[in-house]
C-alpha cells in the first residue's frame, strides 16, 4: 500500500462527481477545531435545505456556541439570537411568516442548559419549527465546562474528577423528553461520528424539515457531535470516545414520527 494516487485534480477519464467538497450554501471557511463534529452537521443541514428546494424560504436562528460562527458562512437568512432563546425567536418568525422554513441551530449548552424552558414550551406549543441540537455534552465555546447533557463520569473544567451524580446531577435526555410531549411531530437522534451515522442523520434532518413543511408540529433532531477539545482527547479519538460515552447514554434512532413512514 505504498503507491500514492494523485488527488490534486479531478480524474481524467469519464467520471461522475458523487460528492462535492461542500454545499454551495457554505460560503467561507469555518474556524472550528480539528475533528469537531459541528461542521459536519452544518453541511448536512444545508445540503438538505437545497435538496428540499427551500433555500429561498429558509430562515435560521442560531444560538451561542462554537457553531455560532457559522452565521458568517451559511448563505441563508439568519438571526443570531440570544443564548438559549432560539426556539422563542423562531416562533415569532414562523408565526408572522408561516410559509418560511424556520430552523434553529443550537448546542447542548444553548438548548438544554440555558434554553431548556424555551425548547420545551415551543415543543408543547406544537410550533411548526425544526430545532437542530448539536450535542457534544460540553460548553465547547467557553472551554469545556459541564452542561446539562454531560454524561456521568465525564471530566470537564467544572467537574474535574468526572461528573458525579451526587454533586453534579444527572444528564438530561432532551430528545426523550421532547418525544413525550403532545404537539411534537418528529424527534430523532443521530451522530456524525461515522459515515453511516452522517448519512442516517441527514435523513433525520430531512424528515424533520418535511414534518414542518407538512404542518405536523414541532420537530427536533439531536445530533451527537465530537468535541475533542472540550473532551480533552485527541481529534482522532473523538468518534470512539463518543461511541463509548455519549452514544451509550443517548441511543440514536427515531423517537417520534408522525408523517407516513416513507423510509
Amino acid at each position: 500500500m505504498s503507491e500514492v494516487i494523485a488527488t490534486d485534480r479531478p480524474p481524467e477519464g469519464a467520471a461522475d462527481r458523487v460528492a462535492e467538497f461542500r454545499p454551495s450554501l457554505i460560503v467561507g471557511e469555518h474556524s472550528l477545531c480539528p475533528g469537531c463534529g459541528e461542521p459536519v452537521a452544518l453541511r448536512i443541514l444545508l445540503e438538505t435545505l437545497q435538496e428540499l428546494g427551500i433555500v429561498e424560504r429558509a430562515i435560521g436562528v442560531v444560538g451561542h456556541g462554537c457553531y455560532g460562527s457559522f452565521v458568517r458562512i451559511m448563505d441563508v437568512d439568519v438571526l443570531q439570537c440570544l443564548h438559549g432563546r432560539a426556539p422563542a425567536c423562531a416562533t415569532g418568525i414562523k408565526r408572522v411568516q408561516p410559509a418560511a422554513a424556520v430552523f434553529t441551530l443550537q448546542g447542548d449548552g444553548d438548548m438544554v442548559s440555558e434554553g431548556l424552558a424555551e425548547v420545551l414550551h415551543a415543543a408543547a406549543r406544537g410550533e411548526n419549527i425544526t430545532c437542530i441540537l448539536l450535542n457534544n455534552g460540553v460548553f465547547g465555546d467557553t472551554g469545556g465546562q459541564q452542561t446539562a447533557t454531560t454524561v456521568l463520569g465525564q471530566r470537564t473544567k467544572t467537574s474535574l474528577d468526572g461528573r458525579d451524580p451526587v454533586s453534579h446531577g444527572h444528564p438530561i435526555r432532551i430528545a426523550d423528553i421532547v418525544a413525550g410531549i403532545d404537539g411534537v411531530g418528529y424527534v430523532a437522534r443521530g451522530t456524525v461520528g461515522t459515515a453511516r451515522g452522517v448519512a442516517r442523520t441527514k435523513r433525520m434532518v430531512r424528515s424533520a424539515l418535511e414534518t414542518q413543511l407538512a404542518g405536523k408540529g414541532f420537530s427536533l433532531v439531536e445530533i451527537l457531535t465530537m468535541c475533542p477539545t472540550g473532551w480533552f482527547v485527541g481529534a482522532p479519538q473523538g468518534p470512539d470516545y463518543m461511541e463509548q460515552s455519549m452514544a451509550r447514554a443517548y441511543a440514536p434512532g427515531e423517537l417520534r414520527v408522525s408523517l407516513g413512514d416513507e423510509r
Partner: protein, 70 residues
Amino acid sequence: MSGALVIEVERCKGCELCIAACPPRVLEMSREVNATGYRYPILHPGCTGCTACQLVCPDAVFEVYRLSSG
C-alpha cells in the same frame, strides 16, 4: 466500483477522521505538513468512491468521483 478523489490538502486540519472512516482503508496520513502545520490524507489504490471520507470530514477536504468504467 472504483473511485477517485480530489483532496484539498491546504484545508485539512489533520483530525484523521477520514482515515478511520474509509472502509477499504486506502487513506493514510502524510508525513509532510501543509502550510498551517497539519498532516493530511494521501490516497492509496483501492478507492471505491463510497464517499465515506467526504461524509465524515469536518473541513470539506474531499471531492469524490466514481469512475464510469468501474
